[in-house]
Amino acid sequence: MGQLRLLMQVAFRNLFTSKINILIGGIIFFGTLLVVVGGALLDSMDSAMSRSIIGSVAGHLQVYSDDSKDELSLYGGMSGEPDLAVLDDFSRIKPVLEKHPNVKTVVPMGTSGALITSGNTVDLTLARLRDLYKKRAEEGESPALRANLDSVKSHVRQMVSLMEEQRNKSRELLSSAAVDPLEVEALARARTDAFWDTFEQDPFASLEFLENRIAPQLPDGDLLDMRYVGTDLDSFQRTFDRMEIVDGQPVPQGKRGMLLSKFYYENFLKLKTALRLDNIKQERDLNQKRIDTDPQLQRWVKENQTQPREILFQLDPIKTGQAVERLQKVLGSKEASLEKLLSEFLTTTDDNFDTRYQQFYAELAPLLELYRMRMGDNLTITAFTRTGYVQSINVKIYGTYQFKGLEKSAMAGVINLMDLMSFRELYGYLSPDRKAEIAELQKNSGLKAVDRANAEEALFGEESGNTLVAEATPGLIEDSKAFEGALGSLRRDDLASRVYSQQEIEQGVALSAAIILKDPEQLQQTMEELKQASTAAGLKLRVVSWQQAAGLIGQFVLMAKLVLYFAVFIIFIVALVIINNAMMMATLQRVREVGTMRAIGAQRSFILSMVLVETVLLGFVFGVGGALLGSGIMSALGSAGIPAGNEALYFFFSGPRLYPTLSAGNLIAAFVIVLLVSAISTLYPAFLATRVSPLQAMQTDE
């Protein structure tokens, strides 16, 4: 006891007498600080991100078919969409999973992507005109219809002249070889009064000319990449309670329909000029950027100045006139060209930006369609089915939604939601209705039904005629125009208004299912038990945690942690070397003292413990100091929160601010690391100290 106390006393008093100790202490201090703060930050980010992932689509666990070639990756993988085998019948899987006492809900899902076209402005306007002429053919002409027809017609005429203007402009830039004389000729014809005077004689022929020869000349329609999750929308909304509807309404229970992500709606479907204004405003307000210093903002202003076409094409002559009037008033200008007025109006600077932004939304926006898609519109989605055929369906957009806290996260924001029925169709699998419909067609056309099991026999067996049948290659049937006509259109109306029962939704394919647990703490255990349960039930399922299911994103924090621990490792390796050297010097300085102790009768073991106790105490004192400061910093950050500087961080912070917390684990980890490092780095100097001969005590140094 006495000895230990003496050792502690020697160690404690040596602590502050040696400059070397202060150096070592400093390293330990900052090392601990780094481990505590860095570790706590990453842990907090980890749990924030896990909340984001779990709360958006993943749930705690995901199950998918064990026959899948790739691993599930909900946010997209390294090389596009992962290749997953389907779960043939969700209704068979659900009860097996739900039997587990820790499973709260199971939500069927399928993630896929498609290209959608936003439509060419000319095409859209021509379609409107065609509809009006059709209406006139059916109902006869009324004054209101006439006025409407004239307005749209003049809008088309204005578009043509705008196109002509642009062509003339670009002629200076293009070589004559790049100009297609047929296009020039078509445009010239559409410009003539003669064309418009004779328009009414055969409106449909005239329209066809415009649709085929003029509309394609406007390279306007964007192809947009769209990711969507097909799911049981009701169950999804109940399960993921961070989800909220922003515009429109939820898809009515059992109906087909889509909810676009608000983020996607804003960033991809909004009028580009308006989007750029929004972006500039956000950067200025949130990030204190300025137009005159920030190149990105300057680029946006420049694009707004030079690309007014999107607005010009949208406006018919009446609205064009209104827009000119309003802009003239706002700018105090007499300019008659809307293009020039817009360009001037959108030349925003730091001084006038806020006024212009407000004026844009007050004066111009009411004249414009701000979004390329409105709530209630039908969206045509074209996707490749699993078997490689092109599949196209119309889905009604009911509204937009967002996940609370993840409003600005591109990661969570790219996920659009779709009903499971539409998803299955796009994915190339037949719903019972479709099957029934095909059966009816087969009956009518005298084709035999061939199911998958005996398809080979039927197709190539002895008795097979040439009966290539629908079900074997569903994509072909789906895609073909064979159903055009009464049956086809009837079916389409049917589909949009049809209400599916829960049973219909659940009986069918899904790609994966999200599982929400009652007690997330038992995730690992539940995961194992579910694996066993599904194997026992004869289901070939893979059960993965949200982290694995999220793919690369899920690994992000793990990677960041690896980087941190690698940095800590390097720092401590350096610390190890420095402490080692410093302790060597300290030992050399104390050779006589150690020699004296040895001469007086101290065993080597005493000297060893003396040096070790000293280092461990050093590590302890400065480690506690670092940990205290670290805890202080963390509690300050914990109450103030760390703002997510850019939108990518929203996902990792699970909201606009991260409120980090410090766990006991962080502190313990820091402590263990620090004590280990200080003990290891002292082993050699301590060994050297034990080798000091008592003879050293006899040396006289004065």
Partner: protein
């Protein structure tokens, strides 16, 4: 004195040599030394520097081993002992007083004196306290128990060292030039103190010095030269011999 001689010697050195190797050169420090020290003696080892005084003391103090010959301390042949056993022997049998005091600077006077007792682990806290205070009393530093060594004068420090050397009640105390770093008055006090303890406690003292006045206190002066013992004299003989030596210069 006769009684002391009658006891078996506490230090017995027989035909001891000690060589130091400096690179490829072998330097003989002791070349065949025989010496017997009996309990209760107060012996001074004298001789010019380089004569082997320190080497001889190191061998007696078990901090070094002889190249040949037998060094036996408290009846034990040091060659037969392991490092641990030698350390044990030093702790329990020998007290050391160093030329430059060698106190542990971060410990108080009390703690410095207590140090060997802690290593011994024989006494409990109160016994240790009593013993340390008793010794501090004896060396006249009872009021300085809480001071740090650097707050004391050289003489005071050496007195602390004396107390430390004697606190375990060793049979033998070795002092290598204990007065070399002290002025003559203080040095005299230290020698007086050692002598007093020698007489009171019967502790054997062996100290090296080249100060004639210090030698006066010894009851025998062993003169060394070139690694050999010249003679073993009484103080008065030594005084005369030194006087002759001085004339010879």
């Amino acid at each position: 004195m006769n009684a002391a001689v009658a006891q078996s010697p506490i230090v017995s050195i027989t035909n001891v040599t000690k060589d130091y190797t400096l690179g490829k050169v072998v330097v003989p420090a002791l070349r065949g030394v025989d010496l017997q020290v009996h309990p209760g003696e107060f012996i001074s080892i004298a001789g010019p520097s380089g004569s082997g005084k320190t080497t001889l003391l190191n061998l007696i103090g078990c901090v070094d081993t002889a190249t040949s010959g037998v060094v036996s301390v408290a009846g034990q042949d040091t060659k037969q002992l392991t490092e641990r056993q030698l350390t044990h022997l030093r702790l329990h049998t020998i007290g050391f007083i160093f030329q430059s005091f060698n106190l542990v600077s971060v410990l108080s006077v009390f703690q410095n004196v207590e140090f060997p007792l802690l290593l011994q682990r024989k006494l409990d806290k109160n016994q240790r306290k009593e013993r340390v205070n008793q010794l501090l009393e004896q060396v006249g530093l009872a009021h300085h128990a809480k001071h740090r060594p650097n707050e004391l004068s050289g003489g005071q420090r050496q007195r602390v060292a004396v107390a430390r050397a004697l606190v375990t009640r060793p049979q033998l105390v070795l002092a290598d030039e204990p007065t070399a770093n002290l002025d003559s008055v203080t040095g005299q006090h230290i020698i007086d103190l050692m002598k007093e303890l020698n007489q009171k406690e019967g502790t054997t003292f062996i100290f090296s010095t080249h100060d004639a006045k210090v030698m006066n206190h010894a009851n025998a002066v062993v003169r060394l030269a070139d690694g050999k013992i010249l003679d073993r004299l009484t103080p008065s003989e030594a005084k005369r011999a030194l006087a002759v030596g001085a004339e010879g210069h």
